[in-house]
Symmetry: C2
Subunit: 247 residues, 2 copies
């Protein structure tokens, strides 16, 4: 990266346009001022998921506040379509890791799905959003993945759109080889798939049968070793991007 590209990149909620002034959150002000020791006049990059990426400069907002003043656009906004990650709420550390890595890997949507063997029922969507924001800032995305509220598996299956493939990670050995199946998925459909990963306890027989009865479902296996849920989620997103996505 050339020297005149500001290293720091922040997601903001406010609209961005030339001259727009954004008040930094307390966390952003702490990070910029105390951790990085940036000062008024130093440049950063801002994005908000809607207005592209902007070069901005830090200004003293008075009373210890920092404001960020957008100067000029750096990258125009563009759609960032990508796979959806649908995951059973497992342990918190595993869910956090899925949110971070799925963001780096270009996931468009994160969606918890409650299954019969889910070993957790609550998911902190605000925490996941914060993790995704930080990962989006770091990896250069112009959007932050959308967070959907948890849904039951039966409800998900009943309402799943027929136009979007649903790639079910099947740890029972009944799925096809990932690169082959995903190449078929890409050839058959225009939309990136939803990738559905179950809980540590796996799918029940009934769940797997209901899922694979969906016309848009595909079953994928991920090799001979037993992968943790978060590893399986990451691996499936990697395979999609590598085979049919934006890599």
């Amino acid at each position: 990266m050339s020297a005149n590209v500001p290293k720091v990149r922040l997601y903001v909620e406010a609209a961005l346009s030339a001259g727009a002034t954004v008040t930094a959150t307390a966390a952003q002000a702490h990070y910029l001022g105390r951790v990085l020791r940036l000062r008024a006049g130093d440049a950063v990059r801002l994005f908000n998921g809607a207005d592209g990426e902007w070069r901005a400069v830090i200004a003293d907002g008075g009373r210890g506040r920092l404001t960020l003043c957008a100067e000029r656009p750096r990258r125009p906004q563009r759609p960032e379509p990508g796979p959806w990650l649908l995951f059973a709420p497992v342990k918190r550390a595993a869910v956090d890791l899925m949110a971070e890595k799925a963001t780096e890997l270009g996931a468009e949507t994160l969606w918890p799905v409650v299954t019969g063997r889910s070993n957790a029922s609550r998911v902190g969507l605000d925490r996941l959003h914060a993790i995704a924001v930080e990962a989006a800032e770091q990896c250069g995305r112009l959007t932050v993945p959308a967070m959907r509220p948890p849904v039951g598996l039966a409800e998900l299956a009943a309402g799943w759109p027929s136009t979007r493939p649903l790639v079910v990670l099947d740890e029972t050995g009944g799925g096809g080889r990932a690169v082959d199946v995903l190449a078929e998925v890409a050839a058959a459909a225009g939309e990136a798939p939803g990738v559905l990963v179950g809980p540590e306890g796996g799918w029940s027989v009934g769940e797997l049968a209901a899922l694979t009865a969906l016309p848009s479902a595909w079953r994928v296996g991920l090799g001979p070793r037993i992968l943790r849920a978060e590893t399986a989620a990451i691996a499936a997103l990697v395979c999609w991007q590598a085979v049919a996505g934006d890599w």
Copy 2:
């Protein structure tokens, strides 16, 4: 998994044969007795990387000790060749994650490589071994990845065997598409590759030039987003296993 396959799987250092008795470590005894509340007569599975997987039963070793008595073999030992992961020592949490996920993904060897921009020089090999053991227990491997002591990048390059491909993750955009390059690697070589991931600061120009001058080196890119080092390492191992490995 059928009901008569013991759920618990432990790695031990001792030799395994019919009737062999293994004294559980303090950590294993705590885990079996206090966490899982298993008792004398309960069955577990043991492996040691050399003698295959064995069914064993817990016995009371007296004085609060647990012993594990090997009964009969369950799976014969077989070689588990796989990619090597070579990584610049980055932050501890990232290195820990690489060790765990590389084990799940079938890596044969973990090898820290000190580069010019490495932001850490020490790697706790004992800690990484412990993490790899736990991951191997969980994922069903019969071996634990070998840990090599850290090596400097120049020394690594000078001694790299010409028979083993070296896949260099190139974040500068100079690498080929992962699935294409790895398919070529697999066609050209009999051995699984070493996958080399640099530090967060990237390779220096000289390092990248020296690496790609190696006759067995291949440069791979991993898409348009900036991946953290541990994400890049995991992604490259997934791509190898999916394209040319054991998936």
